[in-house]
Amino acid sequence: MAPPVLSDLGYVPPDGGWGWAVVFGASISIGFAFTFPKAFTIYFKEIQAVFNISYSQIAWTTSIMCATTYGGGPISSILVNRYGSRPVVMFGGLLCGVGMISAAFCTSILQLYICVGFITGFGLALNLQPSVIIIGKYFLKRRPIANGLAMAGSPVMLCTLAPLNQFLFDSFGWRGSFLILGAILLNCCVAGALFRPIGAGTALVKTQVTEEAKEALKGKIPEDGPMENRAEEEGGKDCFEKINQYLDFSLFKHRGFLIYLIGNVLMFLGFFAPIVFLAPYAKHTGIDEYSAAFLLSILAIVDMVARPTTGIVANSKWVRPRIQYFFSFAIAFNGACHLLCPLASSYTGLIVYSSFFGLAFGMVCAMLFETLMDLVGAARFTSAVGLVTIAECCTILLGPPIGGILIDTFGDYKYMFIKCGSVMVLAGTFLFIMNYYNYRMLAKEEKERKTKEEEPKSP
């Protein structure tokens, strides 16, 4: 189910070359966006002692950060639609850096909420979405591999950030660490610098050549450059159309988009809670702290390998046309792992669970954005990703607290695992059925389109 090439993007994506540099930059950006909140928890104890606050008060910092990162999606999309990926990512990197540097001089928890929570969170939002978007612009045939590699940045960054944070904290205390972390976050600007703009109007076909080519060949090459050209050409438009131009709300009429949205919103209810509670669960069954931390390391390592591998598998000719089924299978597999977790009571059982969990987690993450691109096409992906992240924001934040409530009420971790597992199996099944329906409708529409072959298609 490859989307038609020219009508979607207006040009042929390079599928290589500078694209690999873009993938590297995207993996850095995505890595920071996903792992920074997790790595930040090392400072909790110290800041709790210094500011004399409770654990829940300090935990709000990362919650605000996550919420802003996902909730800032639509703003990110609008900015990318207007200015392109590169300036947005560089500005995001600057914002992150400024946020953390100012956090180093904070004297109250409220200031920390603002500096670390809002400013850094928003900077990370401006990093995450454009990185994912630009992969769709540089890759088509090898897009799943590129997505898998870019998402692999997350576990790699986690494995480096966590010990680095600990080292910085031991050497410089929390204030010095925040200062240096601010500088490290500025590396997102480096990633942004790699995001060379690409598009039919900008990249390879120079204007003079196109004009002469137009004359010589008497044909028209569609231009799909920055939106503002179109605005100048078409003059006055009404407000709704203007909004649509920056953030494509017509996506809500897109069948594939709606299926993806509902399925993913449901999935995220049970996605992150098991990771949050894996170490406490291990300690609850009597395992010591270091072995419990080792479980998380196993998860990260398996995750690191699983993501690019999934990308390669998803790119193969058997899976790529039916990638939505593969995604639903990955989600259901993830759910099944959680449902079976309560059966694992020994340490070996938990190691097996961690490995399978890492595998399933990596599979889902690698294909998270690839499937959305596959459904809506790379041109509308910019708006789609923004709308999807703000919708997912609520369930992502609700997931771990609901799990926590279940644990506190029943005093047993198994209900949390059952809840997460069942939610994910449900989401996987839902996506499987609905995508089967979607594929059939798309095949039908393709057939209808082909029967009208005599009409010249205007792209």
């Binding site: 002692a49 500088a183 050549v209 340490y347």
Partner: protein
Amino acid sequence: MPPHRGGGRWQMGRAASVISRPVASAPSPLLMEGLIRSQGHDWEDPAMTTQDSSQTQVNSVTKMQPGHESSGPHVATQELKPASKEDSVYEIVLSGAPVEKNISVASPTKVELICKLGEDSSLKNPQVTWKKGGETISHTTKTQNSWSIQLTISESSQLGSYTCILKGEKELTATFHLHVPKTEGREKPVITYIGDTAVMVCKTEYNAKAWTWYMTNGTELAPINTILHTDKFEIMRKSAKVSRLEIFKLSKKDRGVYWCEAVFDLGSSKARFELKVLSISAPLKPFIAVVAEVAILVTTIVLYEVYSKRKGKVNQKKTLLGDPSSSRQRSKPQKVSKRFLERRFKPREVENITKLQKMYATMHFKHSLCFEVLYI
């Protein structure tokens, strides 16, 4: 390394940490168990109480022995009434290897120490001695398979190590270490900056009567007087178990080791903190290094892009003009000079040839354009 399966039995690890080897969960002749049963101490973990119900068996042991008077090594202690009426019973079940147990005693209390033989142990009717240090304790009590002593701890001198020795074919020993509760400090140094505020939090598991903080002056410890220096130090007693020292307006002179001391009825225990005061330049160096690295990388990438764009433009110009050195050229028409033609051909033929040349040039141009457009 198999994980330590302390699990549900060892609730308050700190107060009664068992120095024992990892256990197999199946009972065997080498089974070692230590059960802690304690009432009256202020346990922080509410789940502890659920464990208490399983200890009724041990409880009944104490109730069976009201008639047996325990005598500690100091007869005088028998007359002293303990400050609290709670009973604490500690039991060790013996097997092959010597077992030790740490017990925290905060306030004067009655303590019963029991040494019990495992069910499958091969020792029959051993001779049991209880010792503290080198002294033997008399007046021990014996039940079917366990030997115990009852102590009333009311002075710090009564704290120490009590050993029970079972002599038979083999000799089995078990030791109970009674000591004042330990306080928890920080092993890693507390790092602060000049002008900042330092916070040190000291914790213990039992209610302390008083807290004192000391700073080191050379080799001696000087207590910190908050009344004298109200703008510099502040000690807050957050609860009976937590004390908090804040030092304001730090300078390099405040560096060093600080001690917090928790005073209990039976003694006191100290915890150590190390304070490091850095100047702002310490993290500034890595900060500037990273910012420089970012700036260099960004500049390099941008310059490389500008360079490659310029190269691309030059290449395209060459394509348009039919330059033989540019890429993506097929058979290029050689531009022959007019003079060369005039020498060899008649004027009309020269005209035709130049016309042909121009035609070929435009055709080639269009041809190469097609290449450019379609094959980029």
